[in-house]
């Protein structure tokens, strides 16, 4: 299979790589770049563990090719912090025990930020509806909702 050249900005770092055209974003992140915080739970875009931010919106990295993102920018869970300072949404998940095993957590946090970018003051119902595609098998949903409510409030206040 012939390789193609792509340029992609991930977490503010520019990458220029030759890749196979069928390379999925999730495999590129995990296998090529070692960014293993983005997780794969189903391969069929049903669990949401693989979400990353693209144009401020959550996308499922198991269902998009790197080639489709040529000259574009994405952010993964590893890129949310500002140096050692957690993103307010990460901080809120910490403060509200919004994670148990942690496998779904990167996708949850990315999805929550994506929701905030669309709706900066979501109701509990809106949060639950938006997060429908993010599965948590620890079923820690109660604290996840709480984390997102507080994280959104914090993001609103910080502007």
């Amino acid at each position: 299979m012939n390789e193609i050249s792509v340029q992609i900005k991930i977490n503010n770092n520019n990458y220029e790589r030759n890749i196979k055209p069928n390379t999925l974003l999730i495999d590129f992140l995990r296998d090529d770049l070692g960014l293993t915080g983005t997780h794969s739970g189903c391969d069929t875009s049903q669990c949401g563990a693989c979400m990353v931010l693209h144009n401020n919106s959550a996308i499922k990295s198991c269902s998009i090719l790197v080639a489709q993102l040529n000259n574009q920018e994405i952010t993964t869970i590893e890129g949310l912090q500002d140096k050692d300072k957690l993103h307010p949404m990460q901080n809120s998940f910490r403060n509200n025990h919004g994670l148990q095993c942690g496998f779904c957590t990167p996708g949850m946090i990315i999805s929550a930020i994506s929701l905030f970018n669309e709706n900066n003051d979501p109701t509990e119902d809106e949060i639950r509806k938006y997060l429908e595609g993010n599965m948590c098998r620890c079923t820690g949903y109660q604290n996840i909702v709480k984390s997102i409510e507080e994280g959104a409030k914090d993001m609103r206040e910080k502007g």
Partner: protein, 765 residues
Amino acid sequence: MTKHDKNLKGITRREMLVGSAVAGTGLVVGYSGLPGAVGGAREALAAGSWDHQVFLTMDNAGIATVHITKAEIGQHVGTALAQAVAEELEVDWNDVRIDYPDTEEKWGFMITGGSWSVNWTFDRNSRIGASARIALIEAAAKMMGVPAAQCSASNSVVTDSVSGSSRTYSQILSTTTIDRTFSEDEMKALTLKKFGEYKVVGKNIPALDIPDKLIGEARYGIDVFVPNMVYGRLVTNPTRFGAVPLSADDSAAKSIDGYAGVAVIKEDPTGVNTGYVVALGETYWAAEKAAAAMKVTWDSGPNANTSSADIVQAAKDSIADESQGFTWVLEGDPEGAMSKADTTVEAEYETSLGYHGLMEPINCVAMESNGIWHLFTGSQFQGRFTAMTAAALGVDGKNVVLHQQYCGTGFGRRLEPDGAIISALAAQQIGRPVKLIYTREHDLRFDFHQTHTVQRVKAGVNSAGKIDAMSHVVAAGWATKRMAPGFLAESVDKKGKIDQFSTNGSDHWYDIPNHYVRSVENTTAMAATPPGQLRAVAPTWTWWANESFIDEVAHKIGKDPLDMRLSMLSATGKNAGTPPNTVGGANRLRNALIVAAGKSGYGVKPMPENTAMGIASVASQERGSPSWTAVVAEVHVDPSSGEPTLKKITVAMDVGTAVNPDGVLAQIQGSALFGSSRVLHENVTMTNGAIDQGNFDTWTPMRIHQAPEIDVTIIQNGHYPAGCGEPVVTCVGPAIANAVFNASGARVRSWPITAEKIKAAQRGA
């Protein structure tokens, strides 16, 4: 009945060594091999002869690392176990770390399950902390030239109460040699703090694992990469168990870019399964394509004609045949009392095959290097993984090391070493490291499912409206017999061994003078659906039957189900309870029921139309280690469609002492929804030996928008800490079914509880 009072009598048989090999190198705390066999802690460490269990290590900066031999599967139990040590060690919490060691004999028995972690280990870890503190105080007293008796420790500092001078733990550990042996009697005699005196235990300390999980730094098994590895992907066996590959033709796979070969395994001496075909690729993509292109001829094996209906029929037949199975409970004269009963009630309950549904599917990286096999994966039963992988490979168990990783959930699935064994066998065949990842379909179809169960319960009620006799037959696949036969229990009639972990819960805490429980192994289920342990295990089905049934009896004789339960919880005789685990006995269950009823507004709160509450209570997990739990479920049933909607769950749970209340709360909330999902949303079925469902489109657990409101009350009374990760799972099911009945008049006796079943029950079908 079960007797699980493990480790509650403190450290037994062995001495505790607290010492350092060389001055200023910190401290190691652990068991000695044999008492008196080594000169002491210092000598054993210096000679390198200390090869037994180590619990705590401190370095010369005063950092205390508590070694956690449990799997981190989301329960954050390492933090609670470290809190127990830190409380008695009087260490500054900022200096506390945890780690998850690789397998080695010195770490002892490594298993995670049964809601045992805190319950089995709290007392031991408290004593470990106390012994280290005493050794540190004695060393500091010697440094200061004062009697140890006038010194005390707090916040990593030892202070002489007379002069006021002090030494920090770091100062002690960076200068002196510590060499202290505590005899078994001395360990038992240690005075530990009591409830009310705690400074670290009982605090909502954020879990030490959380920061790494928030920033993508936590490493799960699936995140492991080693040089020169290939990806492995299973070619799907035609049946869940028993198929053997006869040949694999890879001629089409050879043209795939990155194809790296195929491992055909026709025999696995461990019996995890009967054969595998693993397609290998330089990339995951290549392995996936190669698996699809592989032409395999299979012998489908002996289960190719087994379907769910056969498993159910086998259970029913074994229940009807009274010669089958063994007695688990026999009190009074059940037959005689039943024949004299005023009213009898009888019902049959089923639970469906259950899928663990790990977020992170089964995976393992297996690699051989200089004669040592390395397994990188998350495991809930490390010793079983290394021993069985060694057996499969034909190597000495000492030459297999498991490197423990974080687990994207566990629920008992990671007690099973299939991922490790298959990846290792493939690596052995191909001569390269193999990273095997189950696809979601393989994870679902080749799970060690929770067994399908059928139970028949019968009660004889006397003229005073009391249940005088009860008989209960449990037919299930016996997971323990398959995976850990050493844990089978003697039956009451001494006629044979019973899988206690397929039966417990039926030995409940109600006053039933004449009580009989028979436990039967469903051999059809055993053969076709190798059963595993799924979160909350047997109490999931035994309490489902029991608590649904108590409600049915109450309705039949016109009593309120709550009143009926309370009237049978007198806490007398065998239900009086004994310290430490069951002190208070049935009174504690009674109390939990009253709290849950009160908090939910049971019988008081106005309910919308077609909405009702249902109540249930359990003493899970085992009779010897109960967490006293009551649940009230509020359910709406749509009158036209029959669709049930779970509106609210109210939980009251007496855990004695909550070591980390916030951690307990998270476990209770999660288990409430996990159990509700199991009962309302999840189903697994079998046709011709194969599992029908394949992914999250056909196996559809509860999602966030379907989750009800949850109200939790954690009851603490200072009694010994009980487990909290599972019991609520066993209580929500019957509470929901009882609420469905109260809302719709439909009694559903099998899982999942669906609109169709509700409508059918309403029609009297």
